[in-house]
């Protein structure tokens, strides 16, 4: 019954002081939102990150570290150390244990976006997220030699549509001085957005990759030796080398065995990596940063709680009369301390509720923008156990800091006479 009295007094008191407390509560709400938001994004970004590529059992490239191979094949970051001979790829194709192989040839760029030379297997077998397949938003996959398919991000940011003519640049980088002037490509299709690096690349066929490099053997175009579109279309091209291969196996159980065989391939030095393992290693490297961020946010919450205590202590000075009345009416020092603790807890709970509501409004509001601008797929989902724990820690911490004014009041009101009379 006394607890109910304290509860009703606490709520009436909070409501009475709502104007002063609203700002403190807002500070706390924002810091809790930040804490919760970062924890939430951490999970979501990890989810989004690790689902950049799925269902691919092995990535095969020239001999190098697994992170490097993962970075240049999947994330289009960095460069290949070496190529794979076409004959090696043919050998892989003969291996019946593979259910599919996607050849990838890198090296050129278009306005800073990677040009990926590949074949129809890419559209058919590449998977991302929870096994989603690529699809064309407009137009169709490349058929003729000088067709190019654009990732959704490229099409959007450069404002291209099907039928546009584009000129690819030799080598990487957004500013390139050597361009494949003679061989413009026609946009044949644009992919659906995936929220992965797939959106940030353009796709041409392997023969096209070969065709535009005729006459470029020395690294620059030698006049008179390059081909025009018309000349190129008369010829047949077979690639001499590719950069990497994405592979799917019929039986997953064979993965390690095939990996070992490729690593020991006698024809040339090759590396085969498991994308899942490489992704989690990469995440572990980046994970340190987000842990630090979470730690900082924790301190932000603690700072707001200290601010809350400061405000409560200031308010306490104005409450001596009220406390004297309650004491004279027969309220025990314990009841007064409980009142203070409840107020502190109440504020923390309101802040937590506010933070959750803010998240529920903000996430659906910004998630389309995040997908478009950063390729992150953030969806609204119920809070995980970890997030509930984090959220639960906030009222817990509020109770702890609330003990400071509560204990002060408890001690003072024990030593005080009627009406707050005390030694001057």
């Amino acid at each position: 019954m006394k607890l109910r009295l304290a509860l009703s007094l606490a709520s009436a008191s909070l409501w009475h002081r709502r104007k002063v407390l609203a700002l403190v509560c807002l500070t706390l709400t924002l810091s809790v939102s930040l804490l919760l938001g970062i924890q939430y994004l951490r999970t979501e970004v990890k989810q989004s990150f690790t689902s950049t590529i799925s269902d691919t059992d092995l990535i095969i490239g020239a001999r190098s570290g697994q992170l490097n191979l993962l970075l240049y094949t999947v994330f289009h970051i960095g460069d290949a150390t070496n190529n794979i001979r076409w004959s090696s790829f043919r050998k892989l194709q003969e291996d019946k244990r593979f259910s599919w192989l996607i050849p990838i040839s890198l090296g050129d760029s278009y306005q800073g976006y990677r040009v990926v030379g590949t074949n129809d297997a890419y559209l058919e077998h590449f998977r991302y997220g929870q096994g989603s397949q690529l699809a064309l938003a407009r137009g169709k996959w490349f058929h003729s030699l000088f067709d190019v398919v654009l990732g959704a991000g490229v099409a959007r940011s450069l404002n291209h549509s099907v039928g546009d003519q584009i000129i690819l640049a030799h080598g990487g980088g957004s500013v390139s001085f050597s361009r494949h002037q003679n061989t413009p490509f026609t946009v044949s299709g644009i992919l659906e957005p995936t929220g992965t690096p797939v959106d940030q690349a353009v796709y041409i066929s392997l023969p096209a990759m070969e065709a535009i490099h005729v006459g470029w053997e020395s690294g620059v175009a030698i006049p008179g030796r390059t081909l025009t579109r018309e000349q190129a279309e008369q010829k047949q091209f077979t690639p001499k080398a590719i950069t990497a291969v994405l592979a799917g196996l019929d039986r997953k159980i064979m993965t390690f065995r095939v990996q070992r065989e490729i690593n020991q391939y006698a024809g040339e030095p090759l590396s085969a990596i498991l994308p899942g393992v490489a992704l989690s290693e990469l995440w572990r490297l980046m994970g340190q940063f987000e842990k630090a961020l979470l730690g900082i946010t924790g301190f932000v919450v603690i700072t707001s709680l200290i601010g809350l205590t400061a405000v409560l202590l200031t308010l306490q000075a104005q409450r001596t009369h009220e406390i004297a009345v309650l004491r004279a009416t027969g309220a025990s020092p314990g009841l007064i301390a409980t009142l203070y603790l409840m107020e502190c807890l109440g504020l923390a709970l309101v802040a937590c509720l506010g933070a959750v509501l803010l998240g529920m409004i903000a996430i659906p509001a910004i998630s389309p923008w995040l997908t478009e601008a950063y390729g992150l797929n953030i969806r609204l989902r119920p809070l995980s156990q970890e997030e509930w724990t984090l959220l639960g820690l906030v009222p817990g911490a509020a109770l702890v800091v609330g003990l400071i004014p509560a204990f002060g009041t408890w001690r003072r009101s024990r030593a005080q006479g009627l009406g707050g009379a005390q030694e001057k």
Partner: protein
């Protein structure tokens, strides 16, 4: 010495013997005259400022413990009770009215009046038929207009606030009301009206009133009067 309980006849509501209190940093203790107030009687205690009025009321209310001497309320030796029991005793048997700032600012007039009934079961039961109704009766008797009952108390005049405080002290018919200069902030018309109403309602429920004031002109309202001597400069 026999306890007051064993006496036939009127039970002393307040009994003080050899009481003194020494504030830690004061040069010498404050001593108080012996007092005995029977149930239902009203005592005017005259005391200039610095005579230890508030200290005496704190001792009576059980919020301070005497350095020596005894305080008996309704036959109960206050020194025999622990801190918690004294708080409960105060909730059950004592109504207090201060000079000012008598009300909890965030509660309505009605909620302020019913506050003792929420802290004490005895007073809740005594406030028949229910605290809300009893509070309305008292507020009406103390001439607080009904449209002020649900209002925030900070919006009311000092006179009204003091009468609401009187209603709070009276609700649930406690045996003792301690009043610490409750009229000093009121003008003379309001002062007499306040006292008349308070004492009339107290008489109706046989409540003893110990009224402390420096204003001797109020003394004629009471059965008895006595004085505190000045012990502090």
């Amino acid at each position: 010495m026999t306890t007051a309980n064993s006496h036939p006849g009127p039970r002393p509501a307040i009994e003080i013997t050899d009481l003194s209190f020494h504030w830690d940093r004061a040069p010498k203790p404050i001593t108080f005259p012996d007092l005995r107030l029977n149930q239902g009687e009203h005592l005017f205690l005259h005391g200039p400022s610095g005579s230890g009025k508030s200290t005496l009321l704190s001792l009576l209310a059980g919020m301070l413990s005497p350095s020596c001497g005894k305080v008996r309320l309704l036959g109960q030796d206050m020194a025999a009770l622990g801190n918690g029991a004294r708080d409960r005793f105060r909730a059950d048997h004592i109504g207090v009215i201060f000079q000012q700032f008598n009300l909890v600012p965030y509660l309505s007039a009605i909620a302020n009046v019913t506050l003792p009934c929420r802290l004490s079961t005895i007073r809740r039961i005594a406030a028949s038929p229910d605290p809300g109704q009893e509070a309305r009766r008292l507020l009406e008797a103390l001439a607080i207009p009904p449209d002020h009952w649900q209002r925030k108390v900070t919006q009311l005049s000092i006179g009204q606030q003091q009468r609401i405080a009187a209603a709070r002290a009276l609700i649930g018919a406690p045996e003792i009301i301690l009043a610490d200069e409750p009229t000093s902030a009121l003008d003379s018309d309001n002062r007499d009206r306040f006292l008349r109403l308070l004492l009339e309602l107290a008489r109706a429920q046989n409540t003893s009133v110990l009224f402390v004031s420096h204003d001797l002109t109020l003394a004629h309202h009471f059965h008895y009067q006595t004085g505190l001597q000045e012990t502090r400069p």
